[in-house]
Amino acid sequence: MSKDPEAKPDETPATPTETEIRSALEGLRRSNEQQQRVAKVARLLFVYYPILVDNMEPEDLIHEAVVAVLEGRRDWDMANVDFPMFLIGVMRSLAYNEARKAHETRPRYVRESDLEHSESSEDREGFLASVPADTPSPEKKLIKDEQEAEEDALLAIIQAQLSDDLDVMRVLELELEGVPKREIREQLRMEDKHFWTIDRRIVRTFEAAAKRRRNHDD
């Protein structure tokens, strides 16, 4: 779906006109395959950010992304990025922002006994008086710690399920480092078909683990 990866990005990409955006949307309308890819991305983002269901459905995410693009709120470097890839990036960004907002506004019950206090209760007043304003509250720290523990657990499950295949583990390691897929293929000297089959297994395992985490949170 991407264009020539060797092409150097223009310094000032031309802003696409509304006509060009509408033409790209027409192209999306005509391609079942591209529509399926966009919808699958929306569903995966809802698996990964389950809190999104508080306010929207996967189709709403696609809707909002298209409106944002039509209103010119997102810059599309049309010379270097194909439209579906661009739209997927917009959806990912919107999902991240919506999930962050939902986490900030959703009321959350935290047991007093789970909070970490460095001072005894008798010294609490003096302790609070000495806390700088930007220090995370015990509640925020607990929530952050829990999130990190969840992320570690998710990764451990994925690694355990893929550990039977050395090639898969090598690809996974590089993907975790953020190495682009093209470079991974070159670095590991893998045939395209072999690489994509491995990558498919990693993605499937990731999605299944994220689904289990979501169901556990429910």
Binding site: M1, S2, R22, L25, L28, R29, N32, E33, Q34, Q35, Q36, R37, V38, A39, K40, V41, A42, R43, L44, Y48, P58, E59, D60, I62, H63, E64, A65, V66, V67, L70, E71, P84, M85, I88, R92, E151, L154, L155, I158, E175, L176, E177, G178, K181, D192, W196, T197, D199, R200, I202, V203, R204, F206, E207, A210
Partner: protein
């Protein structure tokens, strides 16, 4: 596995890779993945098609609302100008000539048609209509300069 400061957390990195797979994997790999994850391709196509159609419609409606608001603003502005003209007392011909001179002094070019008209041949109402026309043009020029 330890995470270096500033690096993407591992699950986020995997999400990025998964999105890239969905966007770029060869068709047969993508379709196999849909099958493995229990997705109905037709349902997915319809989901995107419906969402895109509703987004285009919503965008069109918003554009229409903006255009209507702009039209409303212009009409209100014209009404205000008309009210201003109705307050001119005395000779409308003199007032009109004065208005043309003011516009020219302000750096606007007023067409010869306006300057050469035989004002005496026109009725007061016709001159008021010309005054309104001139004021509307000047107003829109000012709006253009502001934006």
């Amino acid at each position: 596995m330890t995470i270096k400061p500033g690096k993407t957390p591992p699950p986020d990195a995997l999400l990025e890779q998964a999105l890239e797979f969905i966007a770029e994997a060869p068709k047969e790999q993508f379709l196999e993945y849909l099958k493995e994850t229990g997705e109905d391709p037709r349902e997915l196509s319809k989901m995107t098609a419906d969402a895109v159609a509703s987004a285009i419609k919503a965008f069109g409606q918003r554009q229409l609302a903006v255009a209507r608001a702009e039209q409303e603003r212009k009409l209100t502005s014209i009404e205000a100008l008309r009210a201003r003209i109705s307050t001119y007392g005395g000779n409308v011909r003199t007032a009109f000539s004065h208005m043309v001179s003011e516009a020219e002094n302000g750096g606007y070019k007023v067409s010869l048609q306006h300057r050469l008209r035989q004002l005496d041949d026109l009725s007061d109402e016709e001159i008021k209509a010309m005054m309104l026309e001139l004021l509307v043009v000047l107003q829109s020029k000012k709006d253009e300069n502001k934006s």
